[in-house]
Structures are given as structure tokens and as C-alpha cells.
Symmetry: C2
Subunit: 640 residues, 2 copies
């Protein structure tokens, strides 16, 4: 171990790295192949397409009525109607049918009076070509329908078929081979479930990259997982470049002792880039093997996604003659300062909400290992390398991952975490599919501050007033004295001590936290649970310094439960639902009140009223009760 | 013929019709089916998905280095380094690997000094959990990953696999059966090419609807083309509703004598809507057969697309628990007044261009039969029923069919039509794929006016000064005296008389237009070709009244050629390329100068400069010469 260490080549900026990729591999379009017009949807035309047929390819009636030669109708007037002979001067036609020879106009059937079997009468003249779709009105044979490199849409199929272009030449999809590596990874495939040993993880990046490849217009083949042997990886690269247009090796691309990607690439070709001043995505490799692009993609899921979107996708677009993909953007206001490292271009994932007239953005966790930081994101804010961070409330551009229309239909909850909020989000989709609920967990006090700063529609809160045992109202009066707000009761919930199954350390109450050999996991300052703990410790006269682990903080009940499951701690204060979810034991301490604080300005909006309807529904209450440790007798009551 | 006529039921507004559709059929979600996580991309979750595994599901090193128990490092300092014993106090780990039992922190390898085989030295303490990805940091088992009705993205695949959700329940795609009808239609399928008889057209609507269905999340089956017999159509509907979730009958939906759709639907079920105050799309039918939605889609291609997008797509979205699809929008300025009928909601297709700081929109042809009016559109402007029209230059909302980023990279040409502009558009894609060129044909004078009003980047023009035989400059000086502009020579081109192959009427020159028995087709007023004709007629002292067909106008050379091919006219003035394209004869009259007028403010932009590079390229000139009737000796010269 720790024998040989790769080091990064001179770090490149993202812009430099992208230029190297496009300059090295972006000079050739994909070869062409022939497909039928309907199959061409989503594909790129390899050559300009000209019409073979005109449309219409004859003069066609545009109305139901009679076809006439306009000249024969001149002079007709209500006072001097003209009589025309059927099948000599006038011919019945229906919309879309060919105009009989010698005619050049159609009179609508409503304006024709039938005299008998052989004659009709009209009271107004027709002008030439009235109610006629002339030959070539839409498409003239030989005219160019679409320029080359046009992206074919469903609409285009109509034009192609009408113009007699039943088959077209399109650019072949780039063939991408994806080689996942890593001896710590296991394949999920074919397994309904999997029991992981410590140290193992499911290989998922190659599938994500494959699906992103398809979205970018390519096709992909994922090879079976390889271990960390340079020789086997090099061999796989050598075989892959034969047929592939592009290869992605996943994992092992950083500069550590077990990172074999670069070694394998060096055996087969030439390294062009190793190390990019972007975050996530730094340990990305670009190499050339037999003239083909071979990328070393980072192993962290968000890094690999960013490396794909910033380097691989632009190359695929270029191979398909398309302009680089650009997401729609919007100006957003960060709800808090976003720090960033100088010299690194950072991609910060954010939740975005339309709160009143402001589009506010809350940063998600920054770790490159957290896939949920991108699955939960509504947008990405780029912090350029020369900027040290973004100030709160200063407008900044975000690339949107969800359409603004969907973001506008999202209720933004910022505050205390409770499992019933996830359940509420799900029940909202079930009962009001056009709405969604997005939650950020910053504790009860954080929620009150978010309401004060106008960055959310609602805040979950359970703040105990030590003086009278009441919840929330005292804090609201004190911290938001001038802001009109409403308070809606959500649930009563049991808080207590979460301990491993079987309670190995025999914990019975708060007083045991100070016992020797007991390590706790705490919640962050400002959370209702932390206030509750501190209140109880004061009542019991236990100074926090006496409690091991008091300084280790987590942000959610589930994270506390996870810390206990993992053995990182022996005990933590949390809700019963979290203990139950992970099969842990629970010692009740108190039943507390969990409410939703809603600024008056949002309370009467349709979205909030629909949310309240869901909260008051029997289905929601039943599902809450099923979680265990909750009481819903007064759920939905308006307290303020 | 003309025996029985359906009449519309009471016309519904689009909003009423959509409400009837959603109220009648929008109450049930699709049933669920199980797919693997990668297959779930683009699908909708049928139930909330909770994690089965935590991620990481162990405490993992987040750096390459040594794992330690933080406590054992306390007190380390550069002046008092601490020595740790390998494999007792300190364990080498690589990123992603499991933390050895008893350790709770990682020290980066860069900060570790190796003393010998058994000992290392550190100069700073580790704090607990530094450089550790704690169990459940990303995902905690049992936590909800996604609410029901979540649309699965490639990113989601990463979260699903990491969380051990290898298979998920998704809503089955709605099965849509599409039944094309119409005895005038022919099938293209399996034919490399087809010779249409007059009165025939290719059936294309059913394919367009099928591809739109796929885009909306459904799957489709297109039945073979049926004739116009009510019985067979009714039979097809009866069979289709057995397995389908939704049926679209295409064609025959209006109120004419051959429109059998309603009759067939009445036989099998109940008509809910027939006739909607929208344009295009009026003759749409909504019916219920065996509880299933059966739509009668109009036969005109743009009508059928609008009916799909306004009525069928919202229902498919509802069946999949999705909010209604909304296109991104932008505020645009109409370049001319857009008239509209009171009482009808109109969908006007427009080309959109970013010209300077303004986003300008030019209406495309309004006919429901013109598929190219939607394939060429960048956006759609809705004119509500209570509005009679839109004023020029008044900002109005357009739904975007192409991303703004692509629209911003489009050069807008408004002016005279010439076939070399199509060729230029194609060559531009070939040589500068990020750019495109969009042309609207309004004649040379229209082009000058468009430049004056600032609604285009360039205008094609060939305006003859009768006084000195020069082109364009006189008009520019007179009409745009204060606007700084540049003039770039594009081509010299032969204008002449286009006549049917073999020249059956023996036409030799302009003087023959006034001959008895000769009918001409003219170009619109303000076009350079019209000015040329009028100039020649004046020279020859021929009054226009003496020319049959002088009052019939077309807007392009190709349309003039098409009119002659169809027999609608005997002769017209136009360019040789148009005659050659349709196999017509050509009698040269004059060689004229065709230039591009470019406002100074746009001339130095990168896009225009790239366009000039393409114009000056040998490849472009060679392709122009191949069209016939063009001369490129001075192509690309800057004249002003």
C-alpha cells in the first residue's frame, strides 16, 4: 500500500480542459445512416433534405362546396342571381379534394342554392383561387425542407412524409463504452436485493453515465465491473476503442495509490488532461487512445455527473453537429452566504423556490459523494474560480434543472425536520399532483429566521417555552413581533432516547447521558430537539461538559438514528419514528407539539390552502399514525 | 353527395373543452408496473420510494491517509509531534474504504510522516470524524428518497441503485391507438418513393400524433389507414377501446358531408364536444366509448397538432400524475400587426429572432394545412378569443418551441427570396454549427423596411434603379438616409420567363404577356421581381390591365414555378433556379444583382462575420453555381 502515487499533471481550468477536448476530438461529425422519417425523431439530419413531392401536389378545395371557373360567376348579385349547371359549370367538391379541370375557385356550400337535380344558383361572384389550397402552397417539390444538422421533431415527420421523404440520412448515434472499475464495488444486476459487507458499495455511476449519454444523443454499452488491476483495465480500453466513438472509464481517476485509471490510459495512449480546477469533478482525466477520446471519470457520483456535463456532453454535441447544450437560467437570491474556494470553479446545487415575488436559492450539501444533493436540486449556481463566494441576497444566475413552471408550483418548507414532512410531500402529490413540497432542514430556530427573511412558505417548528411548557407562540411573539403569521398544528410527537436494539448500555433517561462510557450524538444548536435537551439537562443540573459526544452534531433525526446504528454513538435524543425505521430501541421522554408556521401573505394562496386540505385528510392522518410515536387528534387546527 | 350534413354541437371554448376532457377522464392514474432502476428514466414513480440501504452504509474514509481514533492524536503539535504505531493506533486507508474498528478520523497522507516500517509521526491533532463520510451521510435506510409521481431522471438512477432500490414501481405508459381515416390518403410505408395521383396525399398525421404521444410519455399503435365508411370506422373504435387507454381517430372530424368520424363515434358511444372556438383545431371531437376517451382529430396537420397539445397532452399528463406541460415563454415584439378573429382563440406560429436587444416575432402563414408553418416556427403566440388582434411592437408572450439559447444564435433574414439563401442556411450549419439562418420572404422593399424597423440582421434585396440601371444603392440612400448600413454582394442571377416544358404557348419575351390566351402569375408588390416587370412593361408601353393574371400574386420564385407546373398560369417572371428545379423552361430576360443589406450595428458581430466567411468560401460558391443561372465572380464583396 501507499507505494506509488500518481500526481496530477498541471491543473487545467475547466475552460482549458474543454478546449483541449474539442480541439482534440471535435473535428469530425458522426457518419450517416438511413432511417425512416418517424424513426428520425430526436436524430440529426446528415444532409439538407429537399422535398420530392409538392404539398398539396394538386389544387385542392379548401372548403366543402362547388368548384367553378371564377369568370363564369362574375356579375352574380342578390338582385341578379346566376344559375349554373351541375357537372358542367359547377362541381360539388369536399375539402381536400382535387379541383375539377377548368375550375379555379370554390364557393362554400352554405352560399349555394340548389334549384333542382341539374342546377344551382349563386348570388355573389367568386374571385379566382378563393377557398383553394393551391398546388405547392405548403411545400414545393425540390425546395429545401431542412438544413443539415437539423434536429428532427415530431412536427418534422409531418413535413417529411408529406414531401415524399420517407427515409432520411441521419448522423449515427455516437457509440459510448463505459467501463466501471473499483474492487470495493458490487454489481446490483439480477439481484432483487443485496446485503453489502462493510466497505462495499453498489456500482451506480456507469448507469447514470449511460443514461446521460442517451439523453445527449448517444448509445451506450456498459462493460462488467473491473477490479483495480491496471493490466485488465488497459486491456479493456484497448478493446473498447476499436468500435467505440468515445470511452469512459469510471473510478480510480484521482491521484491516490489505488487509482489505476491513469496508469491504464498511459499504457494505451496519451494523457491530455489530469486534474481540473472544478469542484466537484477535479480528478478527471482526458486521454487519447488510437485517436479516440478516453475519459477517466471520477468515482464520486456528483463529480462524475459534472465531468460528464462539462466535458463529455459538449463533445457528443459537437460530434452530432449541435450547438452546446445550455440549460435555461434564472436570476435567484441565495438565502445564505455561499462560501467558495478561490481558484476553483464550483458547481453549487441549490433548491429554488418562488416565495412571493422572489426566486430564492438554498444551497444543498456540497459533498461530491452526495447523490441526493443533485437529485433534490432545482438548479446549479456556478461560482467562478476568481470569486471567493456569493453574498446572501445578491442576485446570481442559476442553471435550472426543473422548469420554472414546476418550481413555481413548489411549496418551500425550511425549518425543523420531521418524518411526517416526507409523508406530507408524498400525500400532496397524491391529492394535488400539480403541487410539490420541498423541505430543507435547519432546525426550528432556523425556520423562524427563514420566515423572517421571507425565504420560505412554511416552517416546521417545535420550540418549547421553558417558563410555561407551551410551544412556539412565545418564540414567534418574541422573534417575529411585526410579521403577520399563522400557526397550524401538524402533529404531537414522542421525543425520547434512541439506543441500539436491546439497549446494551441500559439507558433509562436523560441522566444516563452523563454516565461514564456512554457517548451521545447531539442535534445542532437552534433545533427544537437541542433546546429540549438543554432544558432537561438544566432541570437535572447536568453540565454539558460532563457528557461525552455532546459536541458532535447531526441535522436530522434520521442522521442521529444512523449514528447509533453505525456504533458512532450509544444514544441520542430523537423521535420514535426514526428509531423504529432503523430497528432501534426508544425510551420516551416527552410528547411535544410540532406546528407549521406560515406567513400571512402565503396563507390564503391556493397552494397553501390545498396543503391544509391534505393535512386535514383522513388518509394523511392514518399514514402519520402508522409511523408510530405520533398523535393526530388536533392535526390541521389553526392556532394563530 | 351532399346528402346528410353533420353540424357542430354548441361550440365550446378551449378552456371548457379541456375541463370536460379532464373531468370526464382525468380521475384515474395509470396502473403500476415494475421496471429496473435504469429503465425507469423518463417514467413516473407509482409509489413513494424509500431507501433499503444507507449510503455510505459504513463509515468511509473521505481521503487517502491514515485512520486514527481522534482522542489519541490530541496534543500533537509541530513542536511536540506524536508518534503512532501502524496497525495499532494508525491504519493506512484509501478514499472510500471502510474505517477500521475503533477509529473515527482520517489524517491526509500528505500530513503524515513515515518514520519506519512500524511507526508514523503527525504534527497536528485530528478532530473526530474529520475526512470521514459517515454512514448515512447521503442516504439513510428507510428514508423516503422520492415522493410518488416523481419523474425519474438519469441522476435518480444513482440514488436508487445506491439505496438498494434496483427495481421500482412506475406508472404504465398510456396505450394510445391511432386510427387514420380518409379515402384520399395513401400509405407511405414500405415504399421508397410514391407517385401520387391528383387528389391523393400521404397520410402523415397519425405518425406525427404517435411521436407526440411518445414525447408525452405514452406508447402508440397506429392502425392501417381506413377509408370513409362509418361502419368500418365504428368497428375499429370498438376494438381499439378494449385495450387502449385513449384512442385518436384522425380525419373526417369536421361538419362536411364526408366527415364520418362523428357518426362512427355516435354509433359506439357519446359525443361530449364537437367544435371548439380555437384556430387551428376547430373541428375537434371528444367522445366517450366504453368509458374511454376517443378523440376525433382534425385532418389538417396544424389543427391536429394543436388539438393534441391542447386537449390530449393535458389528459396524458393527468393520467401520469404530472402537472400540465408548460413551454418556456418569452416576451416578444410582433414585427407587424397580427389580425385575429373575435370569438376564436388563435395560435399564431411565429419566427423569433434576437435582433440587438429586442426579441422580435414575425408571423408565419396562418393556414391550418401548412405543416411548414409549425416546423419553421420558433414560438407560438396565443391570441385570446376576446382580442381582435395584436399591434405591431407591443410586447406579447410567446411560448417557445426552440430554446432561447438557440434563438439567440440565429441570424434573421427578412426580405427578397432567393434559393441561395436556403443553400447559405445549410452551408452555415456545415461550417459554423452553432449558428443558424432563418429567412422570411417579404420582397426587397419589405426587407428594406424590416432593416429600417430594426427587426432583422440582414435583408436580401435586388432593387433596380430605372434611371441608371444600378441596384439597391439608390433605394437605400432614399429610404434609409440616416441609418448606417453595409451592403454585401451575394450573387448575380438570371431573371426570366418561366414557362411549361416545351414552351407550348411559344413565349419569347415580356411582350407576349399581353397576348390573348396567355395567363401570367405575378409576384407581390414591393418585390424586386415585380419592380423589374413593371419597369419592362413601361419600357414596352404595355398597360398592366391588358395582361391576364397580372392581379394574381405569389410570394416566392418557387411558388411562381409551382403555379406554372400546375397549369394555373402559363408564364411568370422568376429565377432560372426555380424553373430548373421543377423541370420548366426558362427564357432569360436580364441578369440582376442580388445583395445583402446589413445594419452597421450587426455587421461586426461574430455571427455576421462568420456568415460572411461562409459566403466567401469556395464550397458555397461552387454549390451556388451548381444551381444554374447564378454568377459568383464578386460574391462576398462589400459594396457599402
Amino acid at each position: 500500500m501507499c507505494t506509488k502515487r500518481n500526481i496530477y499533471l498541471q491543473m487545467k481550468s475547466l475552460e482549458e480542459a474543454r478546449r483541449i477536448v474539442l480541439d482534440s476530438f471535435g473535428d469530425r461529425l458522426m457518419p450517416a445512416e438511413i432511417v425512416t422519417a418517424p424513426e428520425a425523431v430526436g436524430r440529426v439530419l446528415a444532409e439538407p433534405v429537399a422535398a420530392r413531392l409538392s404539398s398539396p401536389h394538386f389544387h385542392a378545395a379548401a372548403m366543402d362546396g362547388i368548384a367553378v371557373k371564377a369568370q363564369t360567376t362574375f356579375g352574380a348579385h342578390p338582385s341578379r342571381p346566376k344559375t349554373l349547371q351541375i357537372d358542367r359549370d359547377a362541381f360539388f367538391v369536399n375539402t381536400g379534394r382535387v379541383l375539377p379541370a377548368g375550375t379555379d375557385a370554390v364557393i362554400m356550400i352554405e352560399q349555394v342554392q340548389r334549384l333542382d337535380d341539374r342546377r344551382i344558383q349563386i348570388e355573389a361572384p367568386a374571385f379566382p383561387w378563393q377557398h383553394v389550397r393551391k398546388m405547392g402552397e405548403d411545400i414545393v417539390a425540390t425546395e429545401m425542407l431542412f438544413a443539415r444538422q437539423h434536429l428532427v421533431t415530431p412536427y418534422c415527420v409531418g413535413a417529411l412524409l408529406a414531401a415524399g421523404r420517407f427515409e432520411v440520412k441521419v448522423l449515427r448515434r455516437p457509440r459510448v463504452v463505459i467501463i466501471p472499475t473499483g474492487s470495493e464495488l458490487v454489481e446490483w444486476h439480477g439481484k432483487p436485493q443485496v446485503d453489502l459487507r462493510p466497505g462495499q458499495a453498489i456500482e451506480s455511476n456507469a448507469y447514470v453515465l449511460g443514461k446521460l449519454t442517451e439523453t445527449a444523443g448517444g448509445s451506450y454499452e456498459r462493460l462488467s465491473l473491473l477490479g483495480d488491476e491496471v493490466g485488465r483495465i488497459a486491456d479493456a480500453i484497448r478493446k473498447a476503442v476499436r468500435d467505440a466513438d468515445l470511452v469512459m472509464l469510471v473510478g480510480g481517476s484521482s491521484a491516490g495509490s489505488e487509482d489505476f485509471a491513469r496508469g491504464a490510459m498511459e499504457q494505451q495512449g496519451e494523457i491530455l488532461v489530469h486534474g481540473i480546477t472544478m469542484m466537484p469533478g477535479k480528478p478527471t482525466i482526458v486521454s487519447r487512445v488510437e485517436g479516440k477520446p478516453v475519459f477517466g471519470m471520477p468515482g464520486y457520483p456528483v463529480s462524475t455527473i459534472m465531468a460528464f456535463e462539462q466535458l463529455v456532453q459538449p463533445l457528443l454535441a459537437r460530434m452530432l453537429g449541435q450547438p452546446p447544450f445550455q440549460r435555461p437560467t434564472a436570476q435567484v437570491l441565495p438565502t445564505r452566504k455561499i462560501a467558495s474556494k478561490l481558484g476553483v470553479e464550483e458547481f453549487v446545487r441549490v433548491k429554488i423556490g418562488q416565495v412571493g415575488r422572489r426566486l430564492v436559492a438554498t444551497a444543498l450539501p456540497r459533498g461530491a459523494g452526495q447523490i441526493t444533493s443533485i437529485t433534490e436540486a432545482d438548479g446549479i449556481i456556478r461560482v467562478p474560480a476568481h470569486v471567493e463566494g456569493l453574498a446572501e441576497g445578491q442576485p446570481v444566475t442559476a442553471e435550472l434543472l426543473r422548469p420554472l413552471a414546476a418550481i413555481n408550483q413548489t411549496l418551500v418548507a425550511v425549518g425543523s425536520h420531521d418524518n411526517t414532512l416526507d409523508l406530507l410531500a408524498d400525500e400532496l402529490r397524491a391529492q394535488a399532483a400539480h403541487l410539490s413540497l420541498s423541505s430543507s432542514h435547519v432546525g426550528s430556530m432556523g425556520g423562524l429566521m427563514a420566515v423572517k427573511r421571507g425565504v420560505c412558505h412554511l416552517a416546521g417548528t417545535h420550540l418549547l417555552d421553558e417558563a410555561d411548557g407551551s410551544y412556539n407562540v412565545t418564540y414567534i411573539r418574541k422573534l417575529l413581533p411585526d410579521l403577520p403569521v399563522r400557526l397550524v398544528h401538524l402533529v404531537m410527537r414522542d421525543q425520547g432516547l434512541i439506543v441500539p436494539a436491546g439497549n446494551p448500555k441500559g439507558i433509562r433517561g436523560i441522566e444516563d447521558l452523563a454516565r461514564n462510557g456512554v457517548v451521545m450524538i447531539n442535534r445542532q444548536g437552534g433545533s427544537g430537539t437541542r433546546i429540549l435537551l438543554d432544558y432537561r439537562l438544566k432541570q437535572l443540573d447536568i453540565p454539558p461538559e460532563r457528557i461525552a459526544g455532546y459536541g458532535n452534531e447531526e441535522f436530522t433525526h434520521m442522521a442521529v438514528a444512523a449514528a447509533i446504528t453505525s456504533g458512532a454513538a450509544d444514544v441520542g435524543l430523537g423521535i420514535q419514528a426514526a428509531a423504529r425505521a432503523l430497528g432501534l430501541d426508544f425510551i420516551p421522554v416527552v410528547t411535544e407539539q410540532y406546528d407549521l408556521l406560515i406567513p400571512e401573505v402565503h396563507f390564503e394562496t391556493a397552494a397553501v390552502q390545498e396543503l391544509l386540505t391534505v393535512i386535514r385528510s383522513e388518509r394523511f392522518k392514518t399514514r402519520v399514525a402508522d409511523l408510530g410515536g405520533y398523535h393526530t387528534e388536533r392535526t390541521g387546527e389553526v392556532l394563530l
